[in-house]
């Protein structure tokens, strides 16, 4: 295994550390809680001459993403960071970045959306831009945030899609953990040099970027984007495989925890998956066949793969840290059910899927809450399903 240092870092520090090692050509950002530190720390690296990055401080997140689009179109490896309302303000430009197929990399620290104003964690910001054409990678802890950032660069540039790597606001962003960092040389060689095929500052090969594209061509370009999202699955797996071989930490489209012989399972993203693992260990020792699926990538959604891993289960609970306000269920549950619907059409095996909307605005999710979900699942597995959508931890 390659050289690595073990350090204590918060999620924001871990992401900034990855950015230092990546040494992008341009970072344009506007600070927002709880993501402020990512670019604040990085700005320190710029000031201290530890990176050669052109740092562009702007007056809003909309401008930050606009500057990123300009720099990425020009041919520069480009990064930014944001959260919540900042991501919302970037939304218009996010679609443009994806439509232009620009490999911009973003550290997105998950935080609730207003109103009411709230600075704490939930996934509603990332979910709000889930259809923008950005690859979305969720991290369970600081280590994954760091590893995902390094991999994101390779994924973005190979898939020619922008990538956001998320962490849970405050829980990961400000929580200090044990982190194994690669040596600068290893990180640098893994990330490699950026060689865009087409870029505006290439005077040998002229291009126009972002032309008007009406009824004649728009549809074809969106079809291309849809295809890029599909094929990015393999890119993500290839990059993860190389990362695993080189550095010993393996990643996939999702993680399966104690799924061998599992009868019931939770699907949960981000830091909650870590809590669920502790709960599962306890339940398994009591003989309950509980497992966990932790989606790492929400976009592209690993439909077939996920449905396959849920195949033999009697009941599934999806944990949604945001609400889709669709009078149906949370966004993750909708995706999981859609995946299972197609799978059950061929296998004929329908299963109970419960959805738990939890943790909005930083409301704590404790091991006992997750245990409660597994208890519900045990009942559901016996055909005694409770309500399909539960607002877990809300006061009645």
């Amino acid at each position: 295994m390659a050289n690595s240092n073990i350090v204590a870092r918060t999620g924001n520090e871990a992401m900034a550390e990855a950015m230092r090692q990546i040494n992008p050509d341009v970072v344009a950002a506007y600070p927002i809680t709880p993501a402020t530190e990512v670019v604040q720390i990085f700005a320190g690296y710029v000031a201290d001459g530890l990176v050669d990055t052109e740092f562009v401080p702007v007056e809003s997140e909309h401008s930050a993403m606009s500057a990123c689009i300009g720099s990425s179109s020009a041919g520069g490896r480009t990064m930014t960071g944001t959260s919540s309302q900042g991501l919302a303000l970037m939304a218009e430009m996010l679609y443009i970045a994806a439509g232009l197929r620009l490999p911009i990399i973003m550290a997105d620290v998950n935080r609730a959306l207003s109103s009411p104003i709230n600075i704490h964690c939930d996934h509603s910001d990332t979910m709000m831009v889930r259809d923008s054409g950005w690859i979305q990678i969720f991290s369970e802890n600081c280590q994954e945030a760091y590893d995902n950032m390094l991999q994101a660069v390779r994924i973005a540039e190979k898939a020619r899609l922008p990538v956001m790597v998320t962490t849970d606001g405050f829980i990961i962003s400000h929580g200090m953990e044990r982190l194994e960092i690669l040596s600068d040389a290893d990180a640098k060689s893994f990330v490699g040099a950026y060689k865009p095929e087409n870029y505006l500052l290439n005077f040998e090969k002229l291009i126009t970027v972002g032309a008007l594209d009406l009824q004649d061509y728009y549809f074809e370009h969106r079809r291309q984007l849809a295809e890029a999202m599909k094929t990015s699955k393999q890119v993500i797996l290839d990059v993860a495989k190389e990362f695993g071989t080189k550095f010993g930490r393996t990643y996939g489209l999702f993680e399966q925890y104690k799924m061998d012989g599992a009868e019931i399972a939770i699907v949960a993203m981000g830091s909650t998956a870590g809590t669920a693992k502790v709960v599962i260990d306890g339940l398994r020792s009591k003989g309950l066949k509980a497992g966990l699926i932790k989606p790492r990538v929400f976009r592209p959604f690993p439909k077939e793969e996920l449905a396959d891993s849920l195949k033999g289960l009697k009941a599934v609970a999806v944990m949604d840290r945001s609400d889709a306000m669709n009078a149906q269920e949370g966004p993750l549950a909708v995706e999981v059910k859609a995946a299972l619907f197609d799978a059950s059409a061929s296998s004929g095996a329908n299963k109970t899927v419960l959805d738990y909307i939890y943790g909005l605005g930083g409301r704590e999710i404790k091991p006992e809450d997750i245990e409660h979900v597994y208890n519900d699942l045990s009942e559901a597995a016996k055909g005694k399903a409770k309500q399909k959508v539960t607002y877990l931890g809300v006061r009645e």
């Binding site: 439509g99 232009l100 197929r101 620009l102 291009i207 126009t208 061509y217 074809e220 370009h221 890029a228």
Partner: protein, 108 residues
């Protein structure tokens, strides 16, 4: 006058990725001349070849040779009349005429 060729448009697999147009000077292929309702007509005898019209034309539709105006590229001239407006010659070295009438005359 520009004629739109009936060509099969490329499918999504053939298009360059990401709303890019590969190659320079491609605006030349985009004919703006069929929007026109009026057209400039060059009055050679009055022109002092100051090239003001050439500098102002938003479609680069003024054709010059050896530093002198020789006429208009009607495939790209969209008839905005800026050249006419900016021409410093008293009484103008450019005349704006109705496109419909000019076309009718061309046919004869």
């Amino acid at each position: 006058m520009a004629t739109q060729k009936k060509v099969k448009k490329p499918g999504w697999k053939e298009l360059p990725e990401g709303d890019l147009i590969i190659g320079g000077g491609t605006a030349f292929e985009f004919k703006t001349g069929d929007w026109r309702s009026r057209r400039p007509v060059f009055l050679k005898d009055k022109c002092i070849h100051c090239l003001t019209c050439w500098a102002y034309c938003p479609d680069s539709a003024i054709i010059t040779a050896d530093g002198k105006v020789v006429g208009y590229d009607y495939e790209h001239c969209k008839g905005c009349g800026i050249c006419y407006h900016e021409c410093p010659v008293k009484g103008k070295a450019i005349m704006m005429v109705s496109e419909k009438e000019a076309k009718a005359k061309e046919k004869k």
